[in-house]
């Protein structure tokens, strides 16, 4: 009774791995094959769009997500909370991407070019980065590569937020990104990838099931498909932020992951949030950080 029904998984995968054949797209300019991981056509150099966005925009992905949304709406109708589901979808349209970090790396991003030795150290670390060198990077890379096959090194990870709260386990502080700086190159993914592959028993070297990622513009559909079972007739809109990003301060935290193609810099940051630092050195760093972000037209807010 309690053993896994393997044939169930097999059937499920046959149904949902429609994306497996989508490793190539035809170049919009010259019709040559463009590998999934490439943005530019290797034949004519034409820009074929961000690979993560192309992946989320695949017909198989969109159809599978649409099916999930339809299921969500059917359940919401049966449970009498369709209006709550719609309200959630509208709220998520205004969600933002938030990146949690320790204080020092945020400072490094904001002060890039002005802090001599920190910047130099950062550059050397970035240039010499070979992710498969140790167990730490090897494990991490497995998950990233499964999410962004062939282009994972180009992806920066964030989470969706409605109220500038973030996942504390990823860092004491966080940067809220300007949506205008990422909306064309960002996609969203169902949840913490470790939980995802564990739940669905996914082999990381194979395509992930479809229907669990969306473009930035479709992020509210993904939120509806994911979160409908947590709603009911009594759910108040003030609960939406906690449903979208539920920080349990440990590995059970639940969130929608944002994948941003390419780097972002200090001009992408609208706001830095975090608690009052505990050491005097870090309080001084916070002061320099606040000055930097204000110079850039952003804000720094101490909360919590």
């Amino acid at each position: 009774m309690f053993s896994l029904h393997l044939s169930q998984i097999n059937c499920y995968k046959e149904w949902h791995l429609g994306v497996a054949g989508a490793w190539m797209v035809a170049c919009h300019a010259c019709n040559s094959e463009v590998p999934l991981a490439c943005r530019n056509c290797p034949a004519c150099g034409a820009d074929n769009g961000y690979p993560n966005v192309r992946l989320a925009d695949e017909p198989a992905e969109k159809e599978a997500l649409a099916l999930r949304v339809a299921e969500a709406e059917a359940s919401a109708a049966a449970g009498g909370y369709l209006d709550v589901l719609e309200a959630l979808g509208i709220a998520v349209l205004s969600s933002k991407a938030i990146v949690a970090r320790a204080l020092a790396p945020i400072l490094d991003l904001l002060n890039n070019g002005t802090s001599l030795y920190s910047t130099y150290s950062l550059q050397l670390a970035a240039q010499s980065r070979t992710p498969e060198d140790n167990e730490f990077d090897r494990v991490r890379t497995q998950f990233e590569a499964a999410l962004a096959p062939g282009f994972h090194r180009e992806i920066r990870f964030a989470a969706l937020t409605l109220d500038d709260r973030w996942l504390s386990s990823f860092g004491r502080y966080a940067m809220v990104l300007r949506s205008s700086m990422i909306e064309k190159r960002a996609t969203v993914f169902e949840e913490n990838p470790y939980l995802f592959v564990s739940r669905l028993r996914v082999l990381l070297n194979q395509p992930l099931p479809v229907g669990y990622r969306a473009t930035w513009a479709q992020r509210s559909d993904l939120a509806k498909a994911k979160l409908f079972s947590k709603l009911n007739t009594k759910t108040n809109s003030s609960e939406f932020p906690r449903l979208l990003l539920h920080d349990t301060h440990d590995h059970r935290a639940d969130y929608i992951e944002v994948h941003i193609f390419g780097p972002f810099n200090r001009n992408s940051v609208a706001k830095v949030v975090g608690p009052k630092p505990k050491t005097r050195e870090d309080r001084l760093l916070w002061k320099t950080l606040a000055k930097s972000i204000e110079t850039l037209g952003g804000t720094a807010e101490q909360i919590g």
Binding site: N10, A78, S128, N134, V139, L167, L204, L285
Partner: protein
């Protein structure tokens, strides 16, 4: 434990087997749990990551403190040297002065003397109170010309001497951190001997390929030159001497019987700690034992020790510790293919399929080719890639056809075919395999299990008996036989067989769980509960025992306790869909239907491949009266797996409710019922007779079912159906006799109708009041109509008597199959 430490991130992350935990620099006692996929985020932006292997917490914390001090010292220096941040300079000077120490100062100088400053702060403005900073800044300012010269020489090195830009960056970082830049700067400034600087540079950067040419080219760009050749000669001698030193064996203790006995005793001690759940000391003693074996130059045995301990950890359900130890075994003896295979097995148990596949490949490369290939087949099977798994097992079978252990590949093929539902092909494979490898009991049992899957229970029973005759001690065959007896409802025989299994193999959960299951099926709930409790205690890693315990509490009507038990089970086995579904069923039973629907929806989200989860949701839609939606949900399941009979028969029930009798009959088997699923199908057949007006035929079916069925829970289906049939014939007293004392919703409806019709208004009114609180709206509507029809309430009936009978029959179907 292995730790990753970063002063930049101000955090330590521990990775122990499959477990990831971390603490912040300012809260070292607040250890928090995380997961492997979050590793990248936990230390994002950390440019100073240090890995400490098998370090204790004190050493790890000291390392963190050191790295944090160094990082913050550099950042304070950055502020002091940034012209635009002068408003913060005095604070930065004060803090930097406190941070500078024997460990921090050289580190700060290493970076400060590697790159020219953009701006020189006036040193006379730094208070003499902070003499360390004053001295540091004076040094940095005074050496700017030398720094520029060394930097120019570095930038002038022919890029072709480096393998790649990334290699150059790595080399440069090492040259900074090891102080090579600093020593070159001091040499150029005449404060150190260049030969000494060159020697130090060569020695500290020796792991890098082409180091000699790179350092020569670097030196060539400097204006101060000494006799480098002489230095490099000295370096060669030193390096060779170091290499010889590296090759010296450790102090080898001659292997002896006493030493062997001591290892055995130590192992026993560690296992004893494991059995007492004392993982801290188990780890500690294991490390001491292995360190001793390694110190004696006995890496091979150290790896074996770790593998053996890992097996014990696995036996006791400590899968993460198992992984930790087998990974250590691989590290201790990287050439050990067996250890790599064990690591792969451990990853597989933890559902880390990609890692498992990597390690099976590693085992193959280290000589364990068949084991590794079969392992890959297992990974593919476990992850649901059945076509690829089948191909892999077949390739292994063909490639290693004469290997003594190739029967594992045959069994793999048989099992995958069973998973695929191609039972005839699986039977053929097992039959062939048994002919070829007659001494392998697992193949005989595989064949018998396939016969059972085919529904050939007598043949399966004979096959298991044959296996038991040939292999008298074979427990799998005994469990298989007991399972067949249980499936057939031959409970006493099943109990005897499970008892025998328990006697023969007390370390195997199957006997204990099977025994408890039979007691539950028989309706002996108290005894079942005790049996499950024992199984839970003895096998804490078995989800079946936890689920059975909760289900038994549910059977007993102890719903709150059952929910607690399910919550405990779900927390312990978070990726087990059956437990989550059981919990949702329980919520449904308590009448919290909206919450139950949420729970089923959540299960479908979390386990979209699980037919049990999909079926739970579809069933609730049926109960709630959303028949078309339920039908579509059952069709969806059938499309995914046609052989999933539970959903097929539920679909037949919905079709019967909708009056589509022919379609329903097409689904139902015509054989005499023996298994639970077959009895459910038989019950639906009776309901089709009833709904289509063949009442006598229906009663015949229900009476036969009631007198022959062995399954406790399903007996009530026949009881309610028979009572509904009696109501259709206006035999109220008989209907009442069948449902009297029943506490289910259906039994209450029958009692309401019967008592009302018999004029027992007061008792009837009691049932009416109860049913008005039922969470099912269709039940409330029906109760209301019965009350109106028999004047329990002062309202005229809205429907006919036939409507009531029809709705009662629908309800029997909706609440049963």
């Amino acid at each position: 434990m292995n730790a990753f430490v970063s002063g930049v991130a101000a955090r330590v992350v521990f990775v122990e087997g499959n477990d990831v935990t971390y603490f912040e620099a300012d809260a070292p006692n607040d250890l928090k749990k995380s997961s492997l996929s979050e590793l990248g985020c936990l230390l994002a932006g950390a440019t100073d990551l240090v890995e400490l292997k098998r370090a204790d917490k004190a050493a790890v914390f000291q390392c963190l403190l050191d790295l944090w001090n160094k990082d913050r010292a550099i950042r304070m220096l950055d502020i002091i040297l940034d012209e635009s941040s002068q408003e913060f300079s005095s604070e930065a000077v004060e803090y930097l002065d406190a941070l500078l120490s024997e460990s921090t100062t050289p580190y700060v100088l290493n970076w400060a003397l590697a790159v020219p400053a953009k701006w020189a702060p006036p040193t006379d403005k730094i208070s003499t109170t902070y003499s360390k900073v004053q001295g540091l800044i004076s040094t940095i300012v005074g050496l700017q010309e030398s720094i520029r010269q060394v930097r120019l020489a570095w930038e002038g090195i022919d890029p072709d001497l480096f393998e790649s830009p990334s290699y150059k960056a790595k080399f440069e970082r090492a040259a900074v951190v090891e102080g090579v830049f600093r020593q070159f700067v001091l040499a150029v400034a005449g404060q150190e001997d260049l030969n000494d600087a060159l020697l130090a540079g060569y020695v500290s950067l020796r792991p890098f390929r082409n180091v000699r040419s790179i350092i020569q080219a670097w030196e060539a760009g400097l204006t101060v030159r000494r006799s480098a050749q002489r230095v490099l000669d000295r370096i060669t001698i030193t390096a060779d001497a170091n290499e010889d030193e590296d090759l010296k064996p450790g102090v080898r203790e001659v292997g002896s019987y006493e030493a062997y006995q001591r290892v055995l005793r130590a192992k026993e001690g560690i296992v004893d700690r494991l059995e007492r759940s004392d993982l801290v000391n188990a780890r500690k003693f294991a490390r001491a034992l292995v360190d001793e074996q390694i110190a004696n130059g006995d890496r091979s045995h150290a790896a074996k020790t770790l593998c053996a301990l890992a097996q014990e950890a696995n036996r006791l359900g400590y899968t993460s510790l198992q992984l930790e130890w087998v990974l250590q075994a691989v590290e201790v003896n990287p050439e050990d293919g067996w250890a790599a295979g064990q690591a792969a097995d451990a990853f597989l148990v933890l559902y880390r399929f990609s890692d498992a596949a990597d390690y099976y490949r590693r085992a193959m490369n280290l000589g364990e080719e068949l084991f590794g290939m079969n392992g890959l087949g297992r990974v593919l099977r476990a992850s649901g890639n059945l076509d690829a798994a089948l191909a892999t097992f077949r390739e292994a079978r063909d490639q290693f056809s004469s290997h003594a252990e190739v029967f594992h590949s045959w069994a793999g093929i048989g099992e995958v075919l069973r998973d695929m539902g191609d039972l005839d092909a699986a039977l053929k494979v097992y039959t062939d395999a048994v002919e070829r490898y007659r001494e392998i009991p697992s193949l005989w049992c595989g064949r018998a299990a396939t016969l059972k899957d085919l529904g050939e229970l007598d043949m399966a029973s004979a096959a298991y008996n044959e296996a038991m005759l040939k292999f008298p001690g074979e427990v799998t065959a005994q469990v298989g036989l007991a399972d067949i007896e249980k499936t057939l409802g031959n409970f006493d025989s099943a109990l005897q067989k499970y008892e025998k299994v328990i006697d023969q193999l007390p370390s195997e959960v199957a006997g204990y769980r099977g025994y408890a299951e039979v007691l539950r099926e028989k309706g002996q709930s108290e005894e079942a509960l005790v049996a499950y409790a024992q199984a839970k205690k003895r096998f804490p890693h078995d989800p079946g025992s936890y689920g059975g315990y909760a289900e038994t509490l549910r059977d007993m009507g102890r719903l709150d306790e059952a929910l607690d038990a399910y919550n405990e089970a779900v927390a312990r086995f978070e990726f087990e869909p059956y437990l989550r579904n059981g919990r949702a069923n329980l919520i449904k039973l308590t009448g919290r239907l909206e919450e139950a629907l949420q729970a089923y929806d959540q299960n479908v989200h979390d386990f979209p491949y699980s037919l049990v989860a999909l079926n739970g949701r579809a069933d609730l839609l049926k109960e709630l009266g959303h028949y078309e939606r339920a039908l579509s949900a059952f069709d969806d399941i059938a499309a995914k797996q046609h052989s999933f009979k539970v959903a097929l028969f539920s679909k037949a029930a919905v079709l019967t409710i909708l009056g589509r009798f022919e379609e329903a009959l097409d689904i139902l088997p015509e054989t005499s019922p023996r298994t639970r699923d077959e009895w459910i199908a038989y019950h639906i057949r009776g309901m089709i007779y009833l709904r289509s007006g063949r009442v006598e035929q229906a009663i015949e079916v229900f009476e036969f079912g009631l007198s022959h069925i062995q399954f406790h829970k399903e007996r009530s289906y026949f009881q309610n159906a028979l009572a509904a049939a009696k109501l259709a014939r206006s035999d109220y007293l008989e209907a009442l006799n069948l449902s009297r004392n029943g506490r289910s919703t259906m039994a209450k409806v029958i009692q309401l109708h019967s008592y009302s019709a018999l004029g027992e208004r007061k008792v009837a009114r009691g049932f009416y009041d109860e049913l008005r609180r039922d969470p099912h709206s269709n039940v409330i509507d029906l109760a209301e109509e019965i009350a109106r029809r028999f004047r329990l309430v002062e309202k005229p009936p809205a429907h006919s008597s036939a409507w009531i009978i029809q709705k009662e029959q629908e309800l029997v179907l909706a609440l049963a199959a």
